[in-house]
C-alpha cells in the first residue's frame, strides 16, 4: 500500500499531467486527420520526449497513442473516412448514424466505448501482463496463420447480398497484400520496377485512396452545394444511462478481443477492429440494424482498438517485444533514455513501470475528458458545406500520405486507388472486404510458408500444439455453421435476402 501511495505521488506531478494533456490533444487531432494517424503523431512527439524525464515523456507518447485510437473514429463517423486503419470498421455504422440520426451521439458512443476499452486494456496491463505475455509466446507461426484464416472468414460474415462480388473484393485485397519483396525469398512481386512498392502498397496511401479519395469523388458527384442537415439537437453529445447499457455487451466483447489481439505482436489493431465487429454483429440481438447506424456496431471496433493499445504494451513491458508500430516508436523513447526494455525492466526500473501502469489509466481518463470537450466542435464539421469540406479533406489526405513515407509516388498511387474504388463503390463492391483481406494477406501467407519451412514441409505442424488444434477446430466450426445457416435459411425463407454489412 505504501508503494501505491508513492507511485501515485510520482505520477500526479504537474509535468506528467501537462504531458498527458498535450499528448491527448495531439493524438486526437492527428488521429482525426485522415492519413496522419497514431504512428505519425507518436513519431512527431518522440523528439520532444528526449528533453523530458522518462516517465513524463513516455506518458505523453502513451496519451498520444490512446487518443489517436479514438481520434481515428471522429473522421470515420463524420466523413466516412477512417482517420487510422484501426478505425476502418467504425465507418460501417458510425457514418450512417452521423448522417441519418445524430453525429453527436455517434461520436459519444465511440468515445464511451473507446474509454471503456482503454481502461480494460490498462487493467490487463497492470494485473496480468507477465503471465499473459508468457502465454502469448505459445502462439507461433502456425497459430498466427490460423488466426489470419479466422479473420478472413469474418469477411464471409460481413459480406452482403452478392457473394461473388464479395469474393472478388477479397481476392483484390489479397492481391494488393502480396505486392512487394517476398519476405521469404527476397523476390520482387508485382512492383513494376518501382522501389516504392518493394515494401508493399503503402497502407496509408491504400486506406486514404480507398476510403477518402473515392468518398470525395462521390461527394463531388452528388453536388458540391449540399450539406448535411444538422440542427442543434443532433449535435448534442450526451448519452443516457440506458443507451450506455445498450452497448455494454458489444463493448465487453470488443475490449476482450482488442486486448487479446493486442498482446500478439504483429496482428495489430487494424485486424482486431474487424474481429470485434464480426463477432458482435453475428451475436447481436438486432443483427438487422448493423450497417445502418447500429450503436453496437460503433462500440465493438472502438472498444477493441483502444483495448489493443493496452494489450500491445503487454509483450513490450514484459518481454521487450513491441506489440504494434506505435509501441515500437515508444520503445525508441526508452532506449534514448538509456532504459533497456526487457524482462529486467520490472526490477531495474520499477518506479517507471508502475508509473506507466497507473499513468496509462490516467491517459484514458484524459482522453474521455478532452473528448467530451472537443467532440461538440468536431460534430460541427458536418455543418460545413461540401464545397469547403471536399477541398480541405483532400489537402489533409495528401499531406498525410506524403508525411507517411515522403514519397510522391504514393500520392499518385492513392489517386489511382481512389478512382478504382470510386468505380467499385458505384458497382456496389464491398470495400471492407478488400481492406480486411489486405491487412490479413501478409499474416496468412508469411506464417503459412514459415510454418512449412519450420516443419521441413510437413503439414503436421498445424496440429502440433493445443492452441493450433483449437484454432483448426474453430475454423471447421465456423465453416460448418455458415453452411448450416445458409441451408436453413434457404429452406425456411427462400426469398429473403441477408442483411448487407458492406460499406457503400
Amino acid at each position: 500500500m505504501e508503494n501505491l501511495a508513492q507511485d501515485l505521488l510520482n505520477l500526479f506531478t504537474l509535468t506528467n499531467m501537462l504531458c498527458i494533456l498535450l499528448g491527448t490533444v495531439v493524438g486526437m487531432v492527428f488521429g482525426a486527420l485522415p492519413g496522419l494517424g497514431t504512428v505519425i503523431a507518436v513519431a512527431l512527439l518522440l523528439p520532444v520526449t528526449f528533453t523530458l524525464p522518462p516517465l513524463a515523456g513516455i506518458l505523453m507518447l502513451l496519451a498520444t497513442y490512446q487518443a489517436g485510437e479514438y481520434g481515428g473514429s471522429i473522421s470515420a463517423i463524420l466523413l466516412g473516412v477512417p482517420g487510422t486503419p484501426q478505425a476502418a470498421a467504425t465507418v460501417i455504422d458510425g457514418h450512417p448514424m452521423a448522417a441519418n440520426d445524430s453525429p453527436g451521439k455517434a461520436l459519444s458512443y465511440s468515445l464511451v466505448s473507446s474509454s471503456i476499452g482503454g481502461i480494460f486494456g490498462g487493467l490487463v496491463l497492470i494485473f496480468v501482463s507477465v503471465p499473459l505475455a508468457r502465454f502469448a509466446l505459445n502462439f507461433g507461426s502456425p497459430e498466427y496463420f490460423l488466426l489470419g484464416v479466422i479473420g478472413l472468414m469474418a469477411v464471409g460474415l460481413l459480406s452482403g447480398r452478392d457473394k461473388i462480388k464479395s469474393m472478388i473484393s477479397v481476392v483484390l485485397g489479397l492481391m494488393a497484400g502480396t505486392v512487394g519483396v517476398d519476405t521469404l525469398t527476397g523476390v520482387n512481386r508485382a512492383t513494376f520496377g518501382q522501389p516504392e512498392l518493394m515494401d508493399g502498397v503503402n497502407l496509408v496511401a491504400f486506406l486514404v485512396g480507398m476510403f477518402a479519395i473515392s468518398e470525395l469523388f462521390i461527394m463531388i458527384s452528388k453536388g458540391l452545394n449540399v450539406r448535411y442537415e444538422a440542427d442543434r439537437g443532433t449535435l448534442k453529445t450526451g448519452l443516457t444511462w440506458k443507451e450506455i447499457k445498450g452497448i455494454g455487451r458489444s463493448t465487453t466483447i470488443g475490449s476482450l478481443i482488442g486486448a487479446g489481439t493486442g498482446i500478439l505482436p504483429g496482428i495489430g489493431g487494424g485486424a482486431s477492429c474487424w474481429f470485434a465487429y464480426a463477432v458482435v454483429s453475428k451475436t447481436s440481438k438486432t443483427p438487422e440494424a448493423f450497417g445502418k447506424g447500429s450503436a453496437e456496431g460503433i462500440a465493438a471496433p472502438e472498444s477493441s482498438n483502444n483495448a489493443s493499445a493496452g494489450g500491445a504494451l503487454v509483450p513490450f513491458l514484459a518481454l521487450g517485444i513491441p506489440g504494434s508500430a506505435a509501441v515500437a516508436i515508444i520503445m525508441g523513447a526508452f532506449i534514448m533514455h538509456g532504459i533497456q526494455p526487457g524482462p529486467n525492466v520490472f526490477t531495474a526500473e520499477r518506479d517507471l513501470v508502475y508509473g506507466i501502469f497507473y499513468g496509462f489509466i490516467v491517459t484514458t481518463v484524459a482522453m474521455y475528458l478532452i473528448g467530451r470537450l472537443l467532440t461538440p466542435m468536431f460534430a460541427r464539421v458536418l455543418v460545413i458545406p461540401n464545397s469547403f469540406l471536399v477541398a480541405t479533406v483532400l489537402v489533409l489526405c495528401l499531406i498525410g500520405i506524403y508525411a507517411s513515407k515522403g514519397a510522391f509516388f504514393d500520392l499518385w498511387l492513392a489517386l489511382g486507388i481512389g478512382v478504382a474504388f470510386y468505380i467499385l463503390k458505384r458497382l456496389e463492391y464491398s470495400v471492407s472486404s478488400v481492406i480486411i483481406a489486405y491487412v490479413l494477406a501478409p499474416i496468412i501467407e508469411e506464417n503459412f510458408r514459415r510454418s512449412l519451412t519450420l516443419s521441413n514441409g510437413s503439414y503436421d505442424i498445424f496440429f502440433s500444439s493445443v492452441y493450433s488444434i483449437a484454432l483448426v477446430l474453430m475454423v471447421v466450426a465456423a465453416v460448418g455453421a455458415a453452411i448450416y445457416g445458409e441451408l436453413n435459411r434457404r429452406r425456411n425463407q427462400p426469398d429473403a435476402e441477408p442483411t448487407d454489412y458492406g460499406v457503400k
Binding site: 518522440l46 527476397g186 522501389p195 516504392e196 533514455h337
Partner: protein, 327 residues
C-alpha cells in the same frame, strides 16, 4: 542615397574578399556551406537509425563553418535503397549527403535491385558507427558455444532452426557463409524483424536466432537469452567476454553505418564534412548520449571506410555468387 549604397556595398565586398582570402579553406569549400545541406535518412521518423542521426547532426553542424545547417529528409524503405538512390540522383555539389548502412551498398546492387551499380558510385565520406549481431540461444539451451551448435547441426543436417530478420541481408549472408565454411546445413527461418525473431526464440519455435546486440541486453542479464558468438567484426564492451567469429577462426561479417555523398562531390567539401564528423564524434556530450543508447561509435575516415566497404563487397559478392542469385 544611391552613391551611399554603392559605397557601402563596395566596402562590404572588399571586406568580404579580405576575410575569404585569409580563411584557411580553399577552392570550392570556400564559403561552403552557403545554404542548408540535405541529409537523407534511410529510415522513417522515430525509427532506430532516424533517432541516431537526429542525435548526431547538431554536433556536426557545430563543427562546420559558416553557421551550417542540416535539413533531415526521411526516405525509408526497400532496404535503404530508396534513400541511397536519392543520393545517387542528387547533384554532387555538397548540398546532399546521406546516411547508409552496408546492405544498400554491398548487397542490394548485386541482387539487381538498384539503379546504381554499387558503392563505387558514391563518395564515401566517413563511417560513423558499427553494430554487432550475435547468434543467440535461449537461456536453457543445450548449446553452450558455437561448437556445440555446429556439432549438433553436423549430426542432424537441416534440423537446427536459426531465425534471421530478412533474406539476403546483413544477418542472412553471414549465416550462409558460416554454414559453408563450417560444412553444416542449418534451417534458416526468415522473420520480418528482430522483434519477431526474438518472440519466436523466446517461444521455442526456433533453436537460435541472429539478433542485434543492443536488443538482448536485458534478456542476457536476466538469463532468458544467451548470445554465443558475434558474427560481426566489432564487439561491444558489454559483451566483451563472448567470442566473435574471428576469435573462433571464421570469417566475420561487418555492419557499419556511415555518411555518403553523390559521386563527384568536390574533394575539399568532402574533407570539410569528414573533419566535422570526426570532431563531432569526439564531443563528450554526444559520446555520452550515444553510449546511453549502446551505439558503438567508430569513426573511419574516407580511405578506411572505403577499404572496409571494398573488403565486405568482395565477401558478399562471393556468397551471392555461390548461391546463384548474383545479378
Amino acid at each position: 542615397m544611391f552613391t551611399f549604397l554603392t559605397k557601402t556595398a563596395a566596402v562590404t565586398m572588399a571586406l568580404a574578399s579580405l576575410v575569404l582570402a585569409t580563411s584557411p579553406t580553399e577552392g570550392a569549400a570556400q564559403g561552403y556551406p552557403e545554404k542548408p545541406i540535405t541529409w537523407i535518412v534511410p529510415d522513417g521518423a522515430g525509427g532506430g537509425l532516424d533517432t541516431i542521426v537526429r542525435t548526431i547532426y547538431p554536433y556536426v553542424e557545430k563543427n562546420l563553418p559558416n553557421d551550417a545547417t542540416f535539413v533531415l529528409k526521411n526516405l525509408p524503405g526497400a532496404t535503404q535503397t530508396i534513400a541511397v538512390s536519392e543520393v545517387f540522383n542528387s547533384a554532387p555539389d555538397g548540398y546532399t549527403i546521406g546516411q547508409a548502412s552496408v546492405a544498400p551498398l554491398t548487397i542490394m546492387p548485386h541482387l539487381g535491385k538498384t539503379s546504381y551499380s554499387g558503392y563505387e558510385d558514391f563518395e564515401l565520406i566517413a563511417n560513423v558507427f558499427d553494430a554487432a549481431h550475435y547468434i543467440v540461444v535461449p537461456g536453457d539451451s543445450p548449446f553452450q558455444s558455437l561448437d556445440d551448435l555446429l556439432a549438433h547441426a553436423k549430426e542432424n543436417p537441416g534440423a537446427v532452426k536459426v531465425g534471421v530478420d530478412g533474406v539476403f541481408n546483413v544477418q542472412h549472408l553471414p549465416l550462409l557463409n558460416l554454414e559453408q565454411s563450417a560444412g553444416v546445413d542449418l534451417n534458416e527461418i526468415t522473420y520480418k524483424s528482430s522483434a519477431e525473431s526474438k518472440k519466436a526464440l523466446l517461444g521455442g519455435e526456433i533453436e537460435a536466432a541472429i539478433m542485434p546486440s543492443h536488443i538482448i541486453i536485458s534478456e542476457y542479464e536476466s538469463g532468458t537469452l544467451r548470445p554465443i558468438v558475434d558474427v560481426m567484426e566489432v564487439k561491444p564492451d558489454y559483451f566483451a567476454d563472448i567470442p566473435s567469429l574471428k576469435d573462433l577462426g571464421y570469417t566475420p561479417s561487418q555492419l557499419f553505418v556511415g555518411v555518403i555523398a553523390p559521386k563527384g562531390t568536390p574533394q575539399d567539401i568532402q574533407d570539410t564534412l569528414s573533419a566535422a564528423i570526426e570532431a563531432a564524434l569526439q564531443d563528450p556530450e554526444l559520446l555520452e548520449a550515444l553510449a546511453k543508447r549502446k551505439i558503438m561509435v567508430n569513426f573511419n575516415d574516407s580511405a578506411a571506410y572505403k577499404a572496409r566497404m571494398e573488403a565486405l563487397d568482395v565477401v558478399n559478392k562471393g556468397i551471392l555468387t555461390d548461391l546463384g542469385v548474383l545479378k
